[in-house]
């Protein structure tokens, strides 16, 4: 068992409160991602779990065993929490070879030499570095160094693997490849993985469940990737999950109007009592037509991006972004020029309170 239970944890640095009464439960064997903007305190939470920071109050338990509980005077040092950890900057020891790096946790644990060599060989092979055992880190690429760090974190078969933005410093292709590999390893080994990132794409791609944290260190939503993407709890989560449009929609008489200037709202009416709402939607939720039903709008900017065409559209004085598949645009004569009029229809609108409009389209 390596479930992680965090209850009411508070962490302050001087006068700055980073985490204020945070609670979170990670199940055994799941890949759990903590997603949030940079500097929101997610790394601090990770460091609290790993034992590099001590909470002011609250409890942290790993596998049912309390590792931090200031009220009871418990603070297990990081070396006795039995977890594997991968750092953002790899933290591969430059004076040790690949094999020495990977074997180090076993050496500390006092594993007997033959078993150690065998486990090291297996871990190195698992991350695809077989044959590079005698290299020094300076002779490896960034991706290879990250694999060393991963092998080192896994070699002693921990039940919990903590990864702190491990793919940040890799280029896009490598990032994707490593993401698949981490996920595959987690499935094979059946371990609990706690993954911290600010990249929603990685988070959605890797997680069984994820938690979205805001800039003040509060958890806004916990759920599966699908839930979070499709049913965001609030505008922050929605905005954080990719490019988001927010269109003001307000009640006027019996109907609804959209945009600052107030063009008639043509979609299904919102089922909420508020007089001012924000309609949230993705660029891909926008359908354009030359005429017919839909809100009247003007194309302000058009960029052909290959697979899709990106439009900036003005609806009643509010600018929103739309992305349409190039094929559709070409086959249906929907390539608009700047300044052309069009009709806009929206799918899958998320309704938020009018306050979400502050900040505009991300």
């Amino acid at each position: 068992m390596a479930n992680v239970t965090i209850e009411n944890v508070c962490k302050r640095f001087g006068a700055r409160t980073v985490l204020d009464g945070l609670s979170l439960a990670v199940d055994d064997g799941e890949c759990f991602t903590l997603l949030g903007p940079s500097g929101c305190g997610k790394s601090v939470l990770m460091r609290l779990i790993a034992g590099f920071e001590a909470p002011e109050s609250g409890t942290i338990a790993i596998g049912g065993r309390a590792v931090a509980d200031p009220a009871r005077g418990i603070l297990v040092p990081p070396d006795r929490r039995g977890l594997g950890m991968v750092f953002q900057d790899y933290a591969v020891w430059p004076h040790m070879t690949v094999a020495e790096n990977v074997a180090y946790p076993l050496k500390i644990a006092g594993t007997e030499a033959a078993a150690r060599a065998e486990a090291t060989r297996r871990a190195v092979a698992m991350v695809g570095l077989a044959g590079l055992e005698e290299r020094l880190p300076s002779q490896l690429s960034g991706g290879q160094q990250q694999r060393v760090a991963l092998a080192r974190a896994l070699v002693s078969e921990p039940r919990l693997l903590v990864l702190d933005e491990p793919l940040n410093n890799l280029d896009a292709n490598l990032r994707e490849e490593m993401r698949f590999e981490i996920k595959a390893l987690q499935r094979t080994l059946g371990i609990t993985v706690l993954y911290v990132t600010h990249d929603q794409e990685i988070a959605l791609g890797i997680a069984d469940r994820l938690a979205v944290m805001d800039g003040q260190g509060h958890l806004r939503q916990i759920g599966t990737p699908e839930e979070i993407y499709e049913r965001p709890a609030d505008a922050f989560v929605f905005r954080f999950m990719g490019i988001a449009n927010f269109l003001p929609v307000r009640r006027q008489g019996d109907g609804w109007v959209a945009g600052e200037a107030g063009v008639p709202w043509t979609g299904p009416p919102p089922q909420r009592p508020d007089a001012l709402l924000a309609a949230g939607f993705r660029p891909s939720d926008v359908t354009l037509a030359r005429e017919g039903v839909g809100m009247p709008a003007t194309v302000r900017r058009a960029s052909f991006l290959g697979a899709s065409v990106d439009y900036l559209i003005e609806i009643g004085g509010t600018l929103v972004r739309a992305a349409l598949p190039s094929h559709d645009c070409l086959s249906r004569g929907l390539l608009f020029a700047e300044g052309e009029a069009c009709r806009v229809a929206l799918d899958g609108v998320q309704w938020f309170a009018g306050g979400a409009l502050e900040g505009g389209a991300a």
Binding site: M1, G51, R65, Q88, Y104, I108
Partner: protein, 572 residues
Amino acid sequence: MSTTILPGAEKASFLPRVGTAQILLGLSIGILVVVVAVPVLLIFLNSFWVNGQFNALDVVRVLSRGETYEALLNSLILAGGVTVTGTIVGTFFAWLVSRTDLPFKGLMKVLFLIPFMLPSFIGALAWKMLLSPRAGYINRLFMDFFGTDTPLFDIYSYQGIIMVETMYLFPFVFIQVSGALERMDPTLEESARISGASLFTITRKITIPLVLPSVVSGALLIALYSMAHFGTVAVLGVEVGIYNIPTLIYEKIHQSAGNFTSIRTATVLASVLVMTAAFILWLQNRVLSRGHYQIIAGKSFRPTELKLRGLRIPLLLFCLAYIGFTIVLPTVTIFCVGLLKTYGLPIALENMTLHNFEYILFEWDLTRGAIVNSLLLGFSAAVITMFAGVIISYVIVKMRVRGKGFLEFLGMLPFSVPGSVIALGTMLAWSGKFGINIYNTAWIILVAYIARYMAFSLKANSAALEQVHDSLVEAARASGATMWQALRDIVIPLVRPGMLAAFFLIFLPALRELTVSVMLYGPTTRTIGVAIYTLNEDGETVYAAALAGVALILIVTGEGLIKRLFKIGMKK
């Protein structure tokens, strides 16, 4: 310790009252308190507390007494003079080797740094042999040649002392300024040039303001060292009654033999020295932090070079003459005099013998003992200070533990405490006042060396430690290593080059140390520096020169070894 989490295994350790962090912090504070803070504190106590009462008026009274007042004035005159001449010389040569097309610039740069590794009191000794008014070789040559009784130059004078100190201290400015000139973005000057400014205007309006912080910072370092400098004044000034603060402290301590008034005078002088040093360092810090212009980038540029044209060869010859006059001539003099049968004989082959060297190396207990003492003391001080420096720097740079602020303050202390102050403070602290009396033993010199060289070790080690990213240690902790194991397996191997640097930065200067040892030596604990100094005082000039020659060989060999060692280290 198993690295997997066993179900239900309650192996939580309780919040340690005294953890490793506290032990390290305590140890670090302990070392610095015992070795540096207590001695300095005792000096202040001794000078400001009279009969158990704070009395600042009495300090003023001591300072306004004739001899102390004169020493203060002399320190100011000498430091001022050396700072001015050293800054001019240093800036000029720095400009020459970094901004002109002088031939052999790389070699010149190395040569101009040599004075840094040579002990200035040995230089003073050489200049005494060359320019003392009656017996100096150059003066005698001059007087014989022109048939006059007036010597060419009297080295026993303010000008003499300033000249000799300048030769050894100008590299402070040279290093700072040539560094700044090299890092300065040449496009700044080029754009001014394109705007139609003349070279003179560019130099005045752009180059000088940009380099000024480096010039001032180097100048302040010269002032600091000259203020606290013992050797040159002891060899060239004391003879004709020119005392500066450190030499008067020495005089007071050596003449007094425990006399209360003398010790108080010495502590008051030492207090002045500490405060001056702290003020100079503070000033330097301000100048440097203000001078952090964006314009001086970390990158190296290829600066625009001034074409010297017709002056190229004359200026090269001038540089070579300067080096010949300030480095080669004194060094050759030391060896020649060391080979003479008797001091005063003309320097000619028939007057020379290797006997002096043989005698001081193999026969005379005094000199043999001094060499052994210096090697042992230098080595022990270097090893101890190196390790202590690692621990203290580790706590300062890497650990987050309550009470670190105090340690950081203590860590600054060694940088601003001059050698003679260290020696006096150590003497006050370890002469039985606190139950331990190691006065007149080698131990007291060792303790003082540790205090004196702690700053070097802290500097080298914290620079190395800053290169070791925190996550490297955390990765070890997450791998199951305790703090000690992480220190042993990760930190120490990675800072080893810094430690090695610290070792040599201490060992080599300790070999030639004079200021501290001269205040603390006993009948059997002379060091090389002390032996050279006392032999010279006693008129055993040839033996002093021979021993100085041996010291020079040791130092140059040592420096050579380090250079090679680090070159190999770099390649690896």
